[in-house]
Symmetry: C3
Subunit: 440 residues, 3 copies
């Protein structure tokens, strides 16, 4: 079976650890791997520019001795003649390349591509959705710098609202059992849906955080601690002010994602800026400073020479970890340990596409895209778009065998098979689809 990397969840923790081990080997001799993928080709298929990401992948492939095809400006070429993404990946993956690195502005594009591509697809960013190799790179840096990830205390600072990178990193940290301290730019707090997913999928408990020891950086920020620990353990360390931050292992700064700002965003105060004075805080004594780059002004250049500033090393380590990933996807190295269970999805067989996300690939590219949903949770009942992961909005849930519908909390729904569940926006839609109220 072809493996893709659409989401960081497509890799088990064991597989991620195995990739780290390979990346270590590649990093030790990056110029000595040129026989690894001789004869293989990677295609960069980019529907929006992202030079840094593209070069990192292409460098990895070249270091492995493979060849690179670059389509860095897809929107100005075949796409103009009206070709669907599904067709493009079938052509490029059909004979041109052995792996496709895809960048696309629509959420879910990589999942769609993976469902059609004859060769592995790597998601190099799909809109505001996922960018799993950035996350892999960030985790790999913690691995190199700290030797482990579980139990680390990681501060996420800045724009936590729009940064795709930070959301993915938070999920992954939670999965690895690290503690997360959110220090948002005021007005750019971590969105509720991210926190909910952290809680429901990874059992993370959010509590207020007291970040006085972080000094001026925390400022007016409404800080939060997301902990994998049991609440009763945590209570030992918290008081009315919340859990007290004492020691930071890594401080992850993000730039303001101004290109994603809504009207009304960004009008606020000065964006936070990490400088030499901040780095003098005791809690940061041996914290590494990370940043996905590019930075603007949120990290002062006066700490560039500080040995704790690893953001340039962090970018450089993107190459060996991508070498490991590409080799694995192309079957040149083996990753021990089981892969994650693929989540089941089912097509929506009735009505229009109910995905509420206007920039989901299922809406921006309707050709060759069948709307699909996965069950995110049974208690409470929730379904997600299988492409963009956005939660489905609904008022009632029907059963396709009985043609009855129920309110969401109804116990009758617990017995319905997942693929028989029909999510209904309202009673009118239910009527149109010939569903009847349960007990009616």
């Amino acid at each position: 079976m072809i493996r893709h990397l659409v989401s960081i969840d497509d890799l088990s923790l064991e597989e991620i650890q195995a990739l780290f081990a390979w990346a270590d080997r590649f990093a030790a001799d990056p110029r000595g791997q040129s026989e690894m993928c001789r004869g293989m080709i990677a295609a960069s298929v980019f529907y929006e520019p992202s030079t840094r990401t593209r070069l990192s992948f292409e460098s990895a492939m070249l270091r492995l001795g493979g060849g690179v095809l670059t389509a860095a400006e897809m929107t100005s070429s075949s796409a103009v003649k009206g070709e669907s993404l599904a067709d493009t990946v079938r052509v490029v993956g059909g004979g041109y390349a052995d792996v496709i690195v895809l960048r696309h502005p629509s959420e879910g594009a990589a999942r769609l591509a993976a469902s059609y591509s004859p060769v592995p697809v790597v998601n190099a960013g799909d809109g505001a959705h996922e960018h799993p190799t950035q996350t892999l790179c960030d985790l790999y840096n913690l691995h190199v710098e700290r030797g482990h990830i579980e139990g680390l205390e990681v501060v996420l600072a800045g724009d936590l609202k729009y940064s795709r990178t930070v959301h993915s990193f938070a999920y992954a940290l939670a999965r690895f059992g690290a503690g997360i301290v959110c220090v948002p730019q005021p007005g750019f707090e971590m969105p509720e849906y991210v926190v909910r997913r952290l809680r429901e999928e990874f059992g993370v408990e959010p509590v207020r955080a007291d970040t006085r020891r972080l000094g001026a950086l925390a400022g007016e920020s409404d800080a939060m601690y997301l902990t994998p620990q049991k609440p009763h353990q945590l209570s030992l360390f918290t008081d009315a002010r919340g859990w007290e931050l004492q020691h930071v292992d890594a401080l992850y700064m993000t730039r303001p994602q101004t290109e994603r700002f809504d009207q009304g965003d960004g009008g606020g105060g000065q964006y936070m800026r990490l400088d030499r004075r901040d780095m003098a805080a005791e809690s940061l004594r041996d914290a590494v400073v990370m940043h996905p780059l590019p930075r603007r002004d949120e990290i002062s250049s006066d700490i560039d020479e500080d040995p704790r500033s690893i953001y340039f090393k962090q970018a450089a380590r993107g190459v060996p970890i991508r070498m490991a990933l590409l080799s694995a996807l192309m079957g040149k190295i083996e990753l021990p340990g089981g892969s994650p269970q693929p989540v089941e999805s089912w097509p929506v067989s009735v009505g229009a596409n109910p995905c509420p996300n206007p920039s989901c690939i299922s809406r921006t590219e309707p050709r060759h895209v069948e709307p699909r949903f996965v069950l995110a949770s049974r208690q409470p009942l929730r379904a997600r778009c299988a492409y963009c992961s956005r939660d489905l909005l609904y008022s009632f849930v029907g059963c396709s065998t009985t043609q009855r519908y129920h309110p969401p909390g109804s116990s009758a729904l617990r017995k319905v098979r997942p693929d028989h569940l029909v999510f209904l926006s309202d009673a009118d839609q239910a009527g149109l689809l010939e569903f009847f109220p349960a007990g009616g």
Copy 2:
């Protein structure tokens, strides 16, 4: 002598067959050829974007172990500083690359480039003129799917007016002795000049075709059968309705070339659309469905999984056939059998450039381009632009030794040497050039 591929006519049938045999070998082990062209470089020099074509060539070169230089946006670089195409190919071919893959919006650009380049030039599309590797790829697909080309019945459907691809394919099919069934979108019939060339150069006879057995697809289409057979043989199979289509070996769909539409085109009805219902027609029972891609809506996705739909395979096979072509042009493999006789051309020594095509390279790029013409036929007397192949328009023909001119049908012209013929637009021009009417 340097070999180029400007037109599919630059290859003899034996050479094409030899390329097929090499392509078969390369297709059997595409990743095992990386020593073939080690140290060699191909340059993609594209004056208009065509990502698919470019990637197909670059994939072929990388599979052969060669390197690739990409100039995908020539119009935004050196061309802006005013460099002529002739200079560009002399520089790129002078030391940078071992083969040039050229895409250009002007007809005849590749022929011009070939006349200056120190290394082989491959035409990857010159305006509405030729795209020989697409044709080679299409023929190769017939070879793979059917084992032979002679005697096949091939349906060409859709926009037969503007599709360069279809014209070249038709010439090549005629050369190989296949039968061609034209099923045009109404208003987009095969142009008269294409039919004339098919008749004059390849002895093809056009007759009305009865395409009822093709079902709904043929619709209102004014179908035509172009046959390499002798008319008396054909009469056995035709009645008042025309030759009856019974069995199709390949159905070649084309998209509407809206970017080339004149005003007035395309306002008409719904463009044809091949779907599952059409494919149920008995005549298509074992037809393969081809398309040069990208498609829009002219092939429904509901037949993508049909084993007769080979359009994605067709694109994939572009790589091994281009591997064969590039290796041959760079002298890495030998093609047995003689190459075609090069057609003689002569410069026009008097008056302005008489090529009637405003997008001919001899008009769009006047520097370093000497207008040249080739004699297309003596009976009737006709000359073609050596770059864009457009027929020369004229009223009289003179002889440069006698300085007499004659009407086109005059028997006196039969004795004049080709390089002494002077085509004259009218009597005024004749007078200006000091020609006198014969017998005057």
Copy 3:
């Protein structure tokens, strides 16, 4: 220590000669070097398009068996998200590539990049400032065609005002001891600052030149001879009309750099045009004709076939000389002989950035750029911007230990240590910085 090539002055004459010897070897077998740089990667980082230059470097790297990363349109990608040049080179040089080939519209960009990059930086053009590999290529052509450079008589013709290429070439010719004959397009004479540097740094003496033997080409041009010879020797060969041009070894034509024209430029007469008639001049009997390309109309195509026209060969030789350079910078070959002494520079510690050049990188990219100056000469006292090489404008010079300031010619300044010199724009600025007039 990492070697960069920002200016041709970064290489000693011995090193340049050694590069020529390697280039000769590479030129003899360009396709046989594919093991030289296996596993290494060059990144083309271009902030403005220059396809020819980019392809020449990429061809050289591919010929050496290395890989190539192309970022040909930096302005439309990371730069848009606000990344500084300093950050970009730290990322690209930090792990993606082993050498960076940089093109940038701001003067001094390559010097800045070199000061941050962990890998060698090659300047592939920084605004109107330097383009050292073009100069290296031009010199290499003289070496190949003439066997030596010292003592040659080289005519520089055309736009000598804006052509960066011609300025760098002139400095290099002077360093090698060649004679330079300037034959400018009227209104586009060699700028005063170039002549001054030739005189001050290389001891070149400018005299009027009599170019009647050059024929029509020289026309109304106000010609000048720049000679490395001692004036008393020269007087043997000059009269009232100036030094008489008798024999030309190389004629270097340049195109009008219309993209750099100020208002008022270029309104003048017809630009000069070298044609077959000009080449009949006795003085050009065995002159080679050079041009950095692309040309427009300044060289007629009627001399393209003349064996003295080497401009296409000249471009082709850019590949082996760049192969030599890249191998040397990546440590794959050794260059005997000492490297030039690096010039000392010091940051300006007081006041605003005094560089007078508005397109200097220190002004266009203020982040991560510390203004720096180098002492260009003590007698007369002159300092240059360490990035763009533009002379600093000043009225007084202070000493940072005594806090006294002096007029520029003051003998008291001779004893001040270079790093204690403070260049002051006027008395007001001196006062603001708490300097007092000497003896006041």
